[in-house]
C-alpha cells in the first residue's frame, strides 16, 4: 500500500512534539491552556478602557492633557510586553534526533558498565565544572538530552526550556531565557500602570467630590469603583512580583533555582552564574544579547529530513560502539559511577567483540515521544 503524496507544504511547527499551540502559521507559540491569559487581557484592557472613558476626559480638562497621553503610552507598552512574552518562544530546546539520542545512550551505557541484573542502573547525571563549581546536569527522558545548566523541563508544555524560570499561566507561556526580560518589563510596567491608574482615580474622586460631593461622584462615574477594586488587588501582587524578580535578577538566579534552593542555605554565595556585582547581573539579564529561537517553527519540512535519513541510510551505529564510547564529552566519573567501571571507561576501546552482543541498547530505548515523525519514516518504508 503506497502512501498518498501530500502536496501541501508542511511547516516544521506542525510536527513539533510538546504541548504547545501555534498560531499565525507558526509565528505565535503558546501553551495549551490559555484561559487565564484571556483573563489577564480582559482585566488590563477592561480597566484601561474604563479609565479612558471615565477619568481621562475630566483629568485632561481639569489637570493636564498629558495625563491620558502618558496613560496611553504606558498601556501600549504593557500590551506590547505582554504579547511579546506570551507569543514568543521561551527558549525551548528541541528534542534529540534518533542518532544523537543513540549516541548519548551509548555513552551512558559505557559509563555505567555492566549493571548486575536486578539492580537499578545509576541515575543519569553528568558533572560539569562551571567557574570552579561542580554543577550536575540531569538527563531528560522525554527529550533524550542532558539538560544544559539552568535548563529545566516544563511538564505543562512538555518541553525542556533553557534558563527556565517558571511557567506563568497569566501569560499563557513558559518564562525562559528568550522572554524573561519581556516578562520582567511586563510586571514592572504593569505595576507602574496600576499605580498610575489608582493614583489618578483617587485624584479624580477627590477633585470631583470637592465640586459635587462624594456619593454623587461615585454615581456619576461608576467605573471608578470597579477600577479601584481591580487596581487595589493587582497592585499588591504586581509590586510584590516585580520586587521578587528584581531581587532574582540582581543575584542572577531563576525562580526555579530559588524554589529548589540551589544557591541558598548551605550553598549560599556559590552561584557560578552570578558576576557577584548587582549592576553586572542586571545588565546581563536585561541588556544581554537577544537569543535566537533554535526551533525554526516556520521552516519547511524537507523530504530528506534527518528522521528520513535515519531510516534509509545504513546507519550502523551499533558496530562502532567501541569507538564512540571513548568520545568527545569527557565522562567525568561522578560519585555514582561504580568503582569497578572507572578503569573500564578508559579500556572500553578494547571491547570490540562485545558490540555484537550489545545489540540490546538500541531496542531498550523507549519509543520516541513524537509519533508524527514516525509517520514520515513509515511512509518511507511503504514505498
Amino acid at each position: 500500500m503506497s502512501a498518498v503524496m501530500i502536496t501541501r507544504k508542511v511547516r516544521k511547527w506542525e510536527k513539533l512534539p510538546g504541548k504547545n499551540t501555534f498560531c499565525c502559521d507558526g509565528r505565535v507559540m503558546m501553551a495549551r491552556q490559555k484561559g487565564i491569559f484571556y483573563l489577564t487581557l480582559f482585566l488590563i484592557v477592561g480597566t484601561c478602557s474604563l479609565f479612558f472613558a471615565f477619568e481621562c476626559p475630566y483629568l485632561a480638562v481639569h489637570l493636564s492633557p498629558a495625563i491620558p497621553v502618558f496613560a496611553v503610552l504606558l498601556f501600549l507598552f504593557v500590551m506590547a510586553m505582554l504579547l511579546r512574552t506570551s507569543f514568543s518562544d521561551p527558549g525551548v530546546l528541541p528534542r534529540a534526533l534518533p542518532e544523537e539520542a543513540n549516541f548519548i545512550e551509548m555513552e551512558i551505557e559505557a559509563a555505567n558498565g555492566n549493571v548486575p541484573s536486578g539492580q537499578r542502573p545509576p541515575p543519569r547525571i553528568r558533572n560539569v565544572q562551571i567557574n570552579n563549581q561542580i554543577v550536575k546536569l540531569k538527563y531528560c527522558y522525554t527529550c533524550k538530552i542532558f539538560r544544559p545548566p539552568r535548563a529545566s523541563h516544563c511538564s505543562i508544555c512538555d518541553n525542556c526550556v533553557d534558563r527556565f524560570d517558571h511557567h506563568c499561566p497569566w501569560v499563557g507561556n513558559c518564562v525562559g531565557k528568550r522572554n524573561y526580560r519581556y516578562f520582567y518589563l511586563f510586571t514592572l510596567t504593569l505595576s507602574l500602570l496600576t499605580i498610575y491608574i489608582f493614583a489618578f482615580n483617587i485624584v479624580h474622586v477627590v477633585m470631583r467630590s470637592v465640586d459635587s460631593g462624594f456619593l454623587k461622584t461615585l454615581k456619576e462615574t461608576p467605573g471608578t469603583v470597579l477600577e479601584m477594586l481591580v487596581c487595589f488587588f493587582t497592585l499588591w501582587s504586581m509590586v510584590g512580583l516585580t520586587g521578587f524578580h528584581t531581587y532574582l535578577i540582581s543575584l542572577n538566579q531563576t525562580t526555579n533555582e530559588d524554589i529548589k534552593g540551589s544557591w541558598s542555605g548551605k550553598n549560599r554565595g556559590q552561584n557560578p552564574y552570578s558576576h557577584k556585582n548587582i549592576i553586572k547581573n542586571c545588565c546581563e539579564v536585561l541588556c544581554g544579547p537577544t537569543y535566537p529561537s533554535v526551533l525554526d517553527r516556520r521552516g519547511l519540512m524537507r523530504e530528506d529530513s534527518p528522521a528520513f535519513a535515519a531510516s534509509e541510510g545504513p546507519c550502523s551505529l551499533d558496530n562502532p560502539v567501541a569507538q564512540t564510547t571513548k568520545t568527545t564529552a569527557p565522562l567525568i566519573p561522578n560519585e555514582h559511577t561504580p568503582d569497578d567501571v572507572k578503569p573500564s571507561i578508559a579500556a572500553s576501546a578494547e571491547k570490540s567483540p562485545s558490540p555484537k552482543e550489545d545489540q540490546s541498547p538500541a531496542p531498550k530505548i523507549p519509543p520516541l515521544a513524537s509519533p508524527e515523525t514516525d509517520v514520515e519514516t513509515s511512509i518511507a518504508k511503504n514505498h
Binding site: 567557574n131 539552568r150 535566537p292 550502523s316 558496530n319 562502532p320
Partner: protein, 170 residues
C-alpha cells in the same frame, strides 16, 4: 577496530567527493559524531575542542580544532555583553521591541556569518574528506554534528551490518 572503515580507499576519497552534491549522491552515511558543549565558562555557547577518535583517520587534528575554535569565537562575539549590546538593548526597549520587526539583531547577523563559514568549511575541507558539518543551530545549539560518509561502492561491509534504522524509526 579500525577495520570498519576500509582504509585502502582513503586516497581515492579526496578525488571522489569534490563537491557536496556528489558527496550525498555517491556516498552513504556511515556514522555521526557529536561534538558536545563546553560549559566550563558558564552557559555561553562554546563547543569542546577535543578531537574525536572517529575522525582520526579522516581529518587532521589542527584543521578540526581550527574549525571549532573559529566557531567558538563567532559565538563569543554574538553573546558578548558590552557597549554594543547595551545600546541595542536600550534602543529596542525604548521602542517596545518593535524595532526588531525591521532590524536584525546582532546575534542573527553573526548566525548568518556562521552559516556561511560552515558552508565554506564543508566545501573546502570537509567534503573532500567525506565529512559534513551540520550547523549547530539546527540541533538546538547543543552539538556540532559531523556526518561521516562512506563511499557507496566500497561499503559492502557497512551496509550489511546491523540495521539500526529499525530501532531508531520506532
Amino acid at each position: 577496530m579500525k577495520g570498519f572503515f576500509p582504509t585502502s580507499t582513503d586516497g581515492n576519497m579526496a578525488t571522489e567527493f569534490h563537491n557536496l552534491q556528489e558527496l550525498r549522491h555517491s556516498a552513504s552515511l556511515a556514522n555521526k559524531v557529536f561534538i558536545q558543549r563546553d560549559y566550563s565558562e558558564g552557559t555561553t555557547c562554546r563547543f569542546q575542542t577535543k578531537f574525536p577518535s572517529e575522525l582520526e583517520s579522516r581529518i587532521e587534528r589542527t584543521l578540526f580544532e581550527d574549525t571549532v575554535k573559529t566557531l567558538n569565537n563567532f559565538y563569543a562575539e554574538a553573546e558578548k555583553i558590552g557597549g554594543q549590546s547595551y545600546l541595542e538593548g536600550c534602543l529596542a526597549c525604548a521602542t517596545a521591541y518593535l524595532i526588531f520587526l525591521c532590524m536584525e539583531t546582532r546575534y542573527e547577523k553573526v548566525l548568518k556569518k556562521i552559516a556561511k563559514y560552515i558552508q565554506e568549511q564543508n566545501e573546502k575541507i570537509y567534503a573532500p574528506r567525506g565529512l559534513l558539518i551540520t550547523d549547530p543551530i539546527e540541533r538546538g545549539m547543543r552539538v556540532i554534528e559531523i556526518s561521516i560518509y562512506e563511499d557507496r561502492g566500497s561499503s559492502g561491509s557497512s551496509s550489511g551490518s546491523s540495521s539500526v534504522s529499525d530501532s531508531t524509526a520506532r
